[in-house]
Symmetry: C2
């Protein structure tokens, strides 16, 4: 049976192996693997897009794993199949801050209705996000109807995850200083829903944080959310309270997005943005890898830093050298 056929054949141990094998193929840097991966993706594509794609972000310590495990168990009990993927641009350095630890989400990972995959460790955020998007398509083709993409609240990974999911949820601690940090970084504006997690730590603080963040969101005039949604929810993953309310809010959002056509429009825009992001990233990589550029770059950069060459002139010289290489190849 071909890999695609095994993926599309329905839940089984063979399908699980096929998913793992397909994702490994997608993450390979070998050119022949890449050709196979592209062929596989094109074959799978008509079977994708039927899941709801949920992005979940939060700083380390906010309790993402516990929250996602509780949510995953909640969802599989209700008949869903849940895939959990991660985008962690630091994973190649740290050996995997997210999901690298095999003992995390122990109960969920042992359930055959769930599939959990740690972050690819291919270095740049663009590369990591690219592999995760492709892994998401594989999981969708295999019939997982909820795909959760997890990311840490650092750098630009939130933007990447918001750009590949249907709904983006930000987890917060019941702590005002933390809230201001999030507002500062503009992450709040990406969020379709904010969850005060670990509300059991301090219910009074959680309620204050809920009011504060709700007020901030109103001031900031968040555009992607209708008035009918609860902007901010309290959840205690530890005590499994608030999960039903959380999922009701997600489901309401999803229904509105489907009905309004917003979901389809968003996915089309995301696909086009993704294509251009990969093109531009590929161009930069080709440029940086070109031997002629590598030979010239240190000298040119030194001249720019020493004020001997205008930056725009330097850029033109390097670009011309890059393009000439191809002409003479």
């Amino acid at each position: 049976m071909s890999l695609a056929a095994a993926l599309l054949a329905g839940p089984s141990a063979a399908q699980r192996r096929a998913i793992a094998k397909a994702i490994t193929l997608l993450e390979s840097t070998r050119p022949d693997h890449r050709l196979q991966a592209d062929a596989l993706l094109t074959e799978l594509l008509p079977h994708t897009g039927k899941s709801f794609r949920l992005g979940i972000s939060g700083v380390p310590g906010v309790g993402k794993s516990t929250f996602i495990e509780a949510l995953g168990l909640f969802l599989i009990e209700r008949g869903h199949r849940v895939a959990v993927l991660a985008v962690d641009p630091s994973s190649s350095l740290s050996g995997g801050a997210i999901l690298g630890d095999k003992t995390r989400m122990e109960r969920l990972s042992m359930d055959e209705r769930a599939f959990i995959r740690p972050s690819p460790s291919s270095g740049t955020l663009g590369g990591v996000a690219d592999k995760t998007r492709e892994a998401m398509l594989v999981c969708e083709a295999a019939g997982f109807d909820i795909v959760i993409v997890e990311t840490v609240g650092v750098g630009q990974s939130e933007t990447a995850v918001a750009g590949m999911t249907d709904m983006y949820v930000l987890l917060q601690l019941p702590n005002a200083g933390d809230d201001l940090q999030a507002i500062k970084k503009g992450v709040m504006e990406l969020a379709d829903l904010v969850v005060i997690n670990k509300a059991d730590l301090d219910w009074a603080a959680a309620t204050r944080a809920q009011a504060q963040i709700g007020s901030s969101l109103r001031n900031y005039g968040h555009s992607g959310r209708q008035a009918s949604h609860p902007h901010v929810l309290q959840v205690s993953a530890l005590k499994s309270t608030g999960l039903a309310e959380f999922w009701a809010a997600v489901d309401l959002y999803r229904q509105e997005q489907v009905t309004s056509g917003g979901l389809e429009a968003k996915r089309r825009a995301q696909a086009q943005d993704w294509m251009w992001e990969r093109i531009h990233s590929g161009l930069r990589q080709q440029f940086a890898d070109a031997p002629a550029v590598r030979a010239l770059l240190p000298e040119i950069t030194a001249q720019v830093l020493q004020g001997q060459l205008a930056a725009s002139t330097a850029a033109r010289q390097l670009l011309n050298r890059f393009l000439e290489t191809f002409k003479h190849a």
Copy 2:
């Protein structure tokens, strides 16, 4: 006399003509002009960098022209030579929202110690910013010791101007709604100094805005500014009050930046960023202009939007086509 020699020969009517001619050369899209312009820039470069580069931004109606004219007159009376340039990415569409109207800054534009140039209208923000940076170098070589770069508070032009100046000043109206807008757009974080302009409209409101913005800036923990600087000042350009305090704040900032080495480090980083921005922009342009890409793009884009082709696969196909063109050229 060569163009470079005329630029470096000191203030005269001939120098003014040389500056205008040089900037026109820089803005030309003819390849032979571009080669001449690059040669000129390289010749001028050792004579640049001696001015203080001041960015001034604010939404339409905030009174930028009146403020800059008053500031320019204040400075030339104190022995400075002042160049005023503009970055307006909309100018190619609107015919020039900034400085397009020749009657603006009438007194300053008639003074031979000042040089005023409207925004280049080359379309993209990157292109406009590029030409303005180059024009700045020409003005510096010609001995202007204060270069003011003006921009409207729209889109990414603030980031571009903050990235080419030593100090970035944001003009605000005495109006709280407006302040929140600016905070939302993240412009506040770029600002080294905020000026409540037209304070005479409503002194009480101006004082409230000053307190509010000062508080926001402290909350946001602006990193580029020392505690010794006044974060927010009130100015009435109409009544010429506050200009001396404004200039004292600018001068204090400048001295600290020079002494700490921060100015030199910032300019080196700006030059390097500028080079890479131009390289990446040039790569994107080459790609978009390539006939092979233009022929393939509509079909590939349609396949991505219809979900027939994964965006990452589409990007690889287009990139391969682009690079093959060069190999076969």
